[in-house]
């Protein structure tokens, strides 16, 4: 009946007009989505990009009316143009914004017309139901299939999303799956009823780059097969450049700019868009500050040498020693050198052993075998690997850590002054008035106001908290800082700023960095040399520019080819796949 109008609408499947969503709170109403309009076309991908808190997720949830309480749609329209066989107003589209969140009609649209996948593949699946049953549930609900049919179809869907041995996989639980497999299962669930719109809310953010590339490929191929409209929400400009047809840039609930992806990357209209794109591109090259510093001063002596460091974890002890204990090798004989004043990156996917190596370097973990030689301020060399923990204290002041999660690594019951001052207070170095002055000095160094000292961590944003953590780390005047993914919890614009801060501290304090990350762009920006890790071993070490432009090891090649480049013209570069073990 609607052939003509559908053609006129240029295959528009879903149209959002002037959407406003608010969260009433005690301190007044928070407008999370403010006058947002865009439309989704069949077979096309629309990327909504923005930093955390920009209202992109709330927009997506408004469409399905699955907002967290107390959020509600205040005004605007969400027009769904394709409605298969559900009784609605005779002609014309259905306005989802006017449906009640619990009504039958919106429920028949959820999962059937419009399906959604989420960011956290771990917690987005029920831990106590079999994967097959969770998928079959959708089919039984919307398609009225019998239990048996639905199960068979679930197995079929798992096969379509590329899960090997789908029959066995359907019978498993989500915690037995890897992150990538879970996201595949989520996609299978979303595809069950052949929806006309797929909403993907940061579906690859929690995944490794190689897994991300595979999931993106999967979504692409399924979209082409079924002529589906995809609404893809992300904060990653690189991903946008790789998959989008159209882009919507959001900040503080408002749409700043929207348009064709090639046009936008070519000629961004809004200054914020320009900032986002250039921010991503800046990170994709060496930091000017670092190059300038290296030019004026050479890299120093060898300061830390790890030789054949091996770390085994006991998984389960056998009863009475009857069988050998179950052991997992976290680190396979890794050797690494760190020179004074250099930035050494350790890059790899989750589970590759990079954090284990970092902890061994600091001797927080006991080594199973190998040595870690550290030459101290007086040039005396000592093997940290064989020292008992009681003698490690002075070295722990020389080698300090900044952690990934700025929310978890600061004690919420201590003021910033107490947090930053603690290492110096504990060592007996400073106290009272002197300590207070030193804390103020440190806060100034990391770019925080002196007034921050008396406040608690919850009063600060993620980026500011990470500055507090950095101030704490540099307090006892260390020589080496081991930074374990210090920027991965931060928004893109804060990443470069934090890295620049670390670089300027390096110049002022003569620091060396061991920088653990999964983000190749950050390596290129920040690190002089890089070690690539895979399955507990180091596969390649070298100058970071050389490795980024001309990787030798096939694993490094596959890793680099999976990184989404922030340039839509560089799409479809051939990907290298690597899956062998390095044994």
């Amino acid at each position: 009946m609607n052939d003509l109008s559908a053609e006129n609408a240029n295959n528009i499947v879903l149209e959002i007009k002037n959407l406003v969503t608010e969260f009433p709170t005690r301190d007044g109403t928070f407008r999370a989505v403010d006058d947002v309009s865009f439309s989704l076309k069949a077979g096309k991908t629309l990327c909504v990009v923005g930093e955390s808190g920009s209202g992109k997720s709330v927009t997506a949830r408004s469409i399905l009316q699955i907002l967290d309480s107390p959020g509600r749609i205040v005004s605007g329209q969400i027009l769904l143009h394709s409605l298969r066989g559900i009784a609605s107003d005779a002609d014309g589209p259905t306005d989802l914004a006017r449906l009640k969140p619990r009504s039958n009609i919106i429920r028949s649209i959820r999962g059937r017309e419009i399906a959604m996948i989420f960011q956290e593949p771990m917690s987005s699946l029920s831990p106590v139901h079999r994967i097959g049953n969770q998928i079959a549930e959708v089919l039984r609900l919307h398609e009225g299939m019998s239990k048996k049919q639905a199960w068979a179809q679930s197995v079929n869907l798992l096969d379509q999303v590329g899960i090997s041995d789908p029959a066995a996989a359907a019978d498993r639980f989500s915690f037995e799956f890897s992150g990538g497999m879970r996201q595949r299962a989520m996609i299978a669930m979303a595809l069950a009823c052949n929806p006309s719109v797929l909403i993907a809310d940061e579906p690859t953010t929690a995944l490794d780059v190689t897994t991300q590339a595979e999931v993106l490929d999967l979504i692409k191929s399924i979209q082409a097969e079924r002529d589906m409209a995809v609404l893809f929400i992300t904060h990653d400009i690189g991903v946008v450049a790789q998959i989008a047809d159209e882009v919507v840039v959001m900040r503080q609930g408002k749409v700043l700019e929207q348009g064709d992806v090639f046009g936008m990357f070519e000629n961004p209209g809004h200054p914020y868009t320009r900032e986002l794109i250039s921010g991503a591109r800046d990170l994709d090259q060496p930091a000017a500050q670092r190059l300038a510093a290296r030019a004026s001063r050479d890299i120093g002596e060898l300061i830390l040498t790890a030789t054949d460091v091996r770390k085994e974890f006991t998984i389960s002890k056998s009863l009475f020693g009857l069988r050998p204990d179950k052991i997992a090798v976290g680190l396979k004989d890794a050797s690494l050198e760190l020179y004074a004043g250099e930035n050494l990156g350790i890059v790899g996917e989750s589970g590759s052993g990079k954090t284990t190596l970092a902890r061994c370097l600091q001797r927080v973990y006991d080594l199973s075998s190998g040595t870690i030689r550290y030459s101290d301020r007086n040039g005396e060399s000592v093997d940290l690997g064989s020292l008992p923990s009681s003698q490690l204290r002075p070295y722990w002041r020389d080698i300090r850590t900044v952690f990934q999660d700025p929310f978890g690594s600061l004690n919420p019951r201590m003021t910033v002054a107490e947090i930053v001052g603690e290492p110096m207070l504990v060592s007996g170095e400073l106290s009272g008035r002197d300590l207070q002055m030193r804390v103020e000095e440190l806060l100034e160094l990391v770019g925080l106001p002196a007034s921050a000292a008396q406040r608690y961590p919850h009063a600060f944003s993620g980026g500011q908290r990470q500055r507090v953590a950095i101030a704490r780390a540099i307090g006892p005047r260390p020589r080496i800082i081991i930074a374990d993914e210090p920027t991965s919890a931060l928004d893109l614009s804060l990443r470069a700023k934090t890295l620049d801060l670390l670089l300027s501290l390096q110049e002022q304090m003569d620091l060396s960095f061991v920088f653990v990350t999964h983000d190749i762009a950050v390596v290129r920006y920040f690190c002089d040399r890089v070690a690539v890790m895979y399955k507990g071993g180091i596969v390649e070490v070298g100058d970071s520019e050389t490795i980024c432009s001309d990787p030798q090891h096939p694993y490094t090649q596959s890793l680099l080819s999976a990184v989404p480049r922030p340039d839509p013209l560089q799409r479809g570069n051939t990907r290298v796949r690597y899956s062998e073990s390095v044994d």
Binding site: I66, I109, P127, V128, H129
Partner: protein
């Protein structure tokens, strides 16, 4: 059992003296000898525990009857009472806890919370007295004991079982009130933890009805800590029901345990304690097995 000074005989002579009767020292000595109370503690214990292993719990001093006969039915009735109470508690606490969590911070939730705290704070025996009063005055029913007089010593039959059910509800309600109140709180807290989790949103995005998704996902997951309550509820009900049992004169294990302890009736008290310990261990086992059935994460580890 041996810790308090004296033994069954001294306790007996004390109670005889209290009643103003003559105490014959020679006779007491012969009782002591007959029961083997003059032997060292370890010998007495060995005699008893080796009997227990072959099903002989020894003889009660006070009742002059084998312990097995004395406590058999009482333990069975205690067990029935405890089971009924657990089932009652779950039946009451589960839906109320779910309601309370889903409608958190509404009038309904506050009302339930208030009633719950009152239930938690009311001593069981007080509730027993009130219910007895209400039962007798307003319903004219026979509320004490677990059986009507004509069935009290009758052999087991269907009619006797029906009679038991008719009497059982009062102690079940009394014992169940306070444990329900605490389990409602547990259920509410568990569910409140689960409700904001992403898998609930996933289920909602599938198009499930609010009730069905609630029951299938968060309630199912929140059930795990709920099931582990069975482990501690079981022994608690049996030993915690002593006062209520005395007030309602229930023929369960509690009151007899108390008198046997007072009279230092060693074998009787010892057997009770032993059986209660076994019950606690069994309760834990049952809850662990149930937990593994409900939660696959427990099974695989």
């Amino acid at each position: 059992m041996q810790a308090p000074p004296g033994d069954f005989v001294t306790a007996l002579s004390a109670s005889l003296t209290a009643r103003g009767e003559q105490v014959d020292l020679v006779q007491l000595e012969s009782i002591r000898e007959r029961f083997g109370l003059d032997q060292p503690f370890l010998v007495q214990y060995w005699k008893w525990i080796s009997g227990v292993l072959v099903g002989d719990f020894g003889v009660s001093f006070e009742w002059r009857q084998p312990v097995g006969e004395l406590i058999g039915e009482r333990m069975a009735l205690s067990l029935i009472l405890a089971l009924a109470t657990v089932l009652f508690t779950w039946a009451v606490a589960l839906p109320i806890g779910v309601y309370s969590a889903v409608k958190k911070y509404t009038i309904g939730d506050y009302l339930i919370t208030t009633i719950g705290f009152i239930g938690l704070a009311t001593p069981n025996f007080l509730l027993a007295l009130v219910l007895m009063y209400v039962g007798v005055v307003h319903f004219g029913s026979d509320v004490t004991g677990l059986f009507s007089p004509e069935f009290r010593n009758a052999p087991w039959s269907f009619a006797r079982f029906k009679d038991l059910l008719a009497h059982l509800w009062i102690p079940v309600v009394i014992l169940g009130t306070s444990s329900s109140a605490s389990i409602i709180r547990i259920m509410r807290a568990n569910l409140l933890d689960e409700l904001p989790k992403p898998y609930v949103t996933t289920a909602r995005a599938k198009g499930l009805s609010e009730f069905k998704l609630l029951m299938t996902y968060p309630v199912r997951v929140a059930l795990s800590p709920f099931i582990s309550t069975i482990g501690w509820m079981f022994p608690q009900i049996i030993s915690g029901s002593v006062i209520v049992s005395i007030v309602l004169s229930l023929p369960t294990a509690g009151p007899m345990l108390l008198t046997s302890l007072k009279a230092q009736d060693m074998y009787l008290a010892g057997s009770f304690v032993l059986l209660l310990s076994i019950l606690s261990v069994l309760g834990m086992l049952v809850s662990d097995v149930l937990l593994a059935l409900v939660d696959p994460r427990v099974r695989r580890r």
